[in-house]
């Protein structure tokens, strides 16, 4: 699944949050975005995933222009996002959170529920099995039947990723997957992302944890004040003087 973003821009009042951004995620690609706080990274995600409508520019998925498509439609096409602050279904269990994310369930329609109960039961078994696999993969099985609202911050991050996986995406937009996750788990999570990428799932990742991100991605974009100021192979990008000034300078 190929994502192409061209000249995307949005302004809030006079503030140009995203100011003419173009980037691409090739099929099965692993692309990262870094940038100081307020650079417009999350806003860019909201534009790409359909939670905000851009003032100008286009978003193209596998050649189809989806700039005006609603968020759920984009997700259904196979591009699923996570949120910087996890948005778990707090009163559903971890298992139910994952099962809710499975696409195209007949049991979610009234017709399926009342006219094809047998089909719904079989489907529920399959969805439960997929949820169990996802929980094993992310080591969430111990908290399977706990309400998601009781999870720790790191577990919520994992659940956020797990739910995105249950939607059977071909491209995942991850918004700070490592923030608030302990270093051991960051390694595990990176491993999961690599494993998923090896299966052909593309990733576009916003992250502040530079070492973890640079080890992971093959292309890195640096955003500052709504624009992309540098792009390319991670080590080369980090050596760029402008990047050191805008980002590393701002951090250190």
């Amino acid at each position: 699944m190929t994502l192409a973003v061209a000249d995307l821009a949005i302004a809030f009042g006079g503030f140009r949050a995203v100011d003419g951004v173009s980037l691409a995620v090739p099929s099965g690609g692993l692309v990262g975005i870094i940038g100081p706080n307020g650079a417009g990274k999350s806003t860019l995600f909201s534009l790409v995933s359909g939670f905000l409508a851009p003032d100008s520019g286009t978003v193209t998925l596998d050649g189809a222009n989806i700039t005006r498509a609603p968020a759920h439609e984009r997700a259904r096409r196979g591009m699923v996002r996570t949120f910087q602050v996890p948005r778990e279904f707090a009163h559903l269990t971890v298992r139910e959170n994952l099962m809710a994310a499975a696409p195209g369930q007949a049991g979610e329609t009234l017709r399926g529920l009342f006219l094809r109960p047998g089909c719904v039961r079989a489907e529920e078994r399959a969805v439960a099995e997929a949820a169990a696999e996802t929980m094993a993969f992310l080591r969430l099985d111990a908290v399977a039947d706990l309400p998601a609202g009781r999870l720790s911050g790191g577990q919520r991050k994992l659940l956020e990723l797990g739910r995105a996986l249950m939607a059977r995406p071909r491209l995942i937009l991850l918004d700070e997957p490592f923030a608030g996750v302990n270093p051991v788990l960051v390694e595990a999570l990176s491993g999961h992302i690599r494993a998923l990428n090896a299966r052909g799932i593309g990733f576009l990742i916003i992250e502040h944890d530079l070492p973890a991100l640079t080890r992971l991605v093959s292309t890195l974009h640096v955003m500052d004040r709504g624009r992309i100021i540098a792009s390319g192979e991670p080590q080369a990008v980090l050596a760029d003087a402008r990047v050191r000034e805008a980002y590393l300078g701002a951090v250190g």
């Binding site: 939670f51 009163h91 559903l92 994310a101 369930q105 939607a167």
Partner: protein, 296 residues
């Protein structure tokens, strides 16, 4: 005394139907519906008009009550897609008041403030005594049982899982590729149709309808019931409604204990008693009697 108990039970069972619908709307889906009485009103007037002005059988009135109340919920559902929480609450409250004003003004159809008298009672053929009262109770019990079964089936299905997910975080639902609109509209229509059926029962039970029967207080009685019973629980809707009736009717007997209160003031005292119960509940048992969706 038996007649009195039968009367309370009848009204309680009608209210349970309203509580079930509101539980689906608010407890499970998180839609703050402050206009539930509007659907109740539409159902009552539909049954009243069809049974007094046309020769159609009573059953047709019930079908029309459910259909029209459900139909009225459709635009509310479309509105709910754009409005969040408190705004939706105001819009639904406005909806129910609009319905009441329409039945007050459209005299050619509803006879205005005079209302529609002479609505046939159900099971009149059995005579006026206990026999018809018990037959009505049996029918109401059957309808309530069917409604509970329907709502349990909905709540414990993938559909129920998804509406609870919408209640907890609608944007996450969209991010996963599901359209909350589809679910919300269905939920509103189902709950409204059941409220419409409740309205038809009410019209045929009381025997007349006037606009003053459909004031927002009815909506808030139903809210009190589901809060006391436990928000988001089908059992909570049933238990809470029974509790509400106990408070409303039990406070009637306060007059014997408090003879200095006039009959007119007593109406206010009854509402005050329910209000006090509600305050005590929110302090000492905020999850309601049956526990709400936050404790599982």
């Amino acid at each position: 005394m038996e007649a009195y108990l039968a009367a309370i039970a009848t009204v309680a069972l009608i209210y349970v139907l309203l509580s079930l619908g509101l539980t689906l709307h608010y407890g499970l889906t998180g839609l703050i519906n402050f206009g539930h009485v509007g659907f109740f009103c539409i159902g009552a007037y539909a049954a009243a008009i069809l049974s007094t002005k046309t020769g159609l059988p009573v059953a047709a009135g019930f079908v029309a009550a459910a259909a029209l109340a459900g139909l009225a919920a459709w635009p509310i559902g479309l509105v709910s897609l754009r409005l969040r929480d408190d705004y939706f609450a105001i819009v639904t409250l406005g909806f129910s008041e609009t319905v009441r004003l329409v039945v007050t003004s459209e005299r050619w159809l509803t006879n205005g403030v005079q209302g529609i008298p002479g609505i046939p009672r159900l099971f009149d053929g059995l005579g006026v005594g206990m026999a018809s009262a018990i037959a009505l109770l049996a029918l109401l019990l059957a309808v309530n049982a069917a409604a509970v079964a329907l709502f349990l089936r909905l709540a414990r299905s993938p559909f129920g899982r998804m509406i609870e997910a919408i209640r907890d975080n609608e944007e996450a639902v969209r991010a996963l590729g599901k359209d909350p609109a589809r679910f919300k509209i269905r939920v509103l229509v189902i709950g409204a149709a059941v409220a419409g059926v409740a309205g038809a029962f009410y019209a045929h039970y009381i025997g007349y309808v006037v606009p003053d029967q459909f004031v927002p207080l009815i909506t808030f009685y139903v809210w009190m019931a589901i809060i006391m019973g436990g928000v988001g629980r089908i059992s909570g809707a049933v238990v809470g409604t029974v509790l509400l009736m106990l408070f409303l009717e039990g406070s009637r007997f306060l007059r014997d204990a408090l003879p200095f209160i006039s009959a007119v003031d007593m109406a206010s005292v009854r509402i005050g008693a329910v209000g006090l119960a509600l305050i005590l509940f929110t302090i000492y048992r905020p999850q309601g009697l049956m526990g709400d969706y936050t404790r599982r």
